[in-house]
Amino acid sequence: MKFARLVWANIFRNKRRTFLTAASVAVAMFLFASLRSIITTLEASAELGSEARLVTRNAIGITFPLPEAYTSRLKSTSGIRNVSWANWFGGVYQDPQDFFAQFAVHGESYFAMYPEIRIPDDQLDLFLRERTAAIVGTGLMERFGWSLDQTVTLQGTIFPGDWEFTIRGVYTPDNPSFSDQTMYFRYDYLFERTNRQVTPGWFILQLEDPTAAANISTTIDALFENSTAPTATETERAFQAGFVTMWGNVAGLVRAIGTAVFFAILLVAANTMMMAARERINEVAVMKTLGFQNRTLATLVLSEATIITGVGGLIGLLLAKGFINPANPVNVMLPGFILTTGTFVAGVGISIALGLVSGAVPAWQSARLSVVQALRRVA
């Protein structure tokens, strides 16, 4: 490109201004990428649950348990390969602010149903043999500096008292969106310690044929409709999505902020390009005199603007990429907080769009510029 040097010279004409503009785009793109990653992560976690598993809970609400006796009735329902159940424990380790999830699960059936949770076979065997055993996610192990075979004490909130667990296994999720911040322990431990008062919080049903999910859900709910504890059954994905909606309108909020950021920075960039163009009215007139076409001049201005915003945006995105990683504390709340390729591409696209839009006004002005008037103004 023989015009490259011209663009280059103009970019470095006012280094401070170029730097500030690129930096403000970088900042905006950093923010954009971080915010969009929150949305994509939320969306990913809404789609995390399997379509091949159903969750049956008490129709009154998730905090109401179901009778254990339902197990056999669920097992005998046609189309269901396997049944497991779990309970929310709600324990606190040292500091109540340091939240993490604990589930009491029926070990034999639960892990068989969740290939997402990868546990070494020998560790799973140990877990199944020891009532107070627990299996803990890698992230959680790291967070509290726990080690295998360590005994940890949790304070129960729903189930009062001090609860001791021995970590016998460490699991690795097979997918970044699946939390590595969870602790699983044995349902029978919970059952025995609460004087057999506890019943399953919810059931998980593995389907033989995922396409039959809707029918089977209806069948099950009809089965218990007139019993003491009516059920609500839905696919695990819908169940998970329900939790995600509990965040409220985060996505909308984040989008609103993102839009505001975009326009704020657009104004900064456009203002800069207009200032740059105003300084160069005379030069544009000279170049027109030399025979430069409007098209060429517009291309020069647009390239300049796009390079500045593009480089700035790229820097911002790379910074965000470095910032959004598994070690980020946000991961505790939002497992799988990663910068997706889609976000990166969108960020680059927006940066370029910022350049084109902010360069458009000066480009248009230079096309409209009357050489005679511009030169007279100087003379």
């Binding site: 023989k2 015009f3 040097r5 011209l6 010279a9 103009n10 470095f12 004409r13 005379n282 030069e283 007139a285 000279v286 170049m287 027109k288 005199t289 030399l290 025979g291 430069f292 076409q293 409007n294 060429t296 050489v371 005679v372 030169l375 100087v378 003379a379």
Partner: protein
């Protein structure tokens, strides 16, 4: 309304057979201020021959710069035509004009108008970027032009590192580098001290005599006008000899 006759017999340029290069026919142009018409050029007819060095003089606001701008295709006329080398400039579109200017016009400005971010070399190379020339060919042309204006050792200097006279010489080099048909100079010595002005005029004379460049120069300066073969006076839009 004064009509100036074609003056091939009066011009004695370096070329042997004087042929008409620029033909201006009954050119009229007005400006409007608050719907009031202010005529700038009132029916100018003029023929300029190939190889001629013409000076145009006149008081401020006499329309001489406007005339120059119309010849350069920078400004439009309301009436009449300008034909340069057989091409009707007044009938061209803005886009055609830009291309045409790049090919046929070398413009020298009063205030040099070099791009401050480019070196002397790069400034001179600018018009060549619009051509099909390769990088090597462009270099040849630029070095030649620098040599003609005597600034070979200043190629890598930026405008702000050059004196006014030097800047104007870069401006002239830029005007001739693409070997244009006509050189148009708008008060080329207007912003220079006497010595530098003299140098610039020497340069223009040389371009005319040695390289047979057709030059149309607008000037205030009688001394500058002396260098030309012919002097036209423009007063209130009317041309006289």
């Amino acid at each position: 309304m004064t009509t100036t006759k074609p003056s091939s017999d009066q011009t004695s340029s370096g070329s042997q057979t004087a042929t008409a290069l620029v033909e201006i026919r009954d050119l009229k142009k007005s400006y409007y201020r608050d719907s009031q018409e202010i005529p700038v050029i009132e029916g100018v007819t003029l023929t300029i021959n190939r190889g001629e060095f013409l000076a145009m003089m006149g008081p401020s606001g006499s329309g001489k710069s406007t005339l120059l701008n119309i010849i350069a295709g920078l400004d439009s006329a309301e009436h009449g035509s300008v034909i340069v080398d057989g091409e009707n400039v007044t009938a061209m579109s803005a886009r055609q004009l830009a291309t045409w200017r790049g090919r046929h016009i070398g413009f020298v400005f009063q205030f040099y108008n070099l791009l401050p971010v480019l070196t002397a070399y790069q400034n001179i190379e600018l018009p060549l970027l619009l051509t099909e020339l390769s990088k090597r060919e462009r270099k040849e042309h630029v070095l030649t032009a620098l040599d003609v204006v005597g600034l070979t050792d200043r190629a890598e200097h930026f405008p702000r590192q050059l004196s006014g006279g030097q800047q104007q010489r870069v401006g002239i080099a830029r005007a001739i580098v693409s070997d244009p048909t006509i050189i148009l100079a708008d008060e080329p010595t207007g912003d220079l001290d006497a010595k530098s002005a003299e140098e610039i005029l020497d340069l223009l004379t040389r371009l005319n005599e040695e390289f047979q460049k057709t030059i149309i120069m607008v000037t205030h300066d009688a001394k500058a006008a002396e260098r030309a073969h012919a002097v036209m006076h423009l007063d209130k839009g009317v041309l006289s000899r």
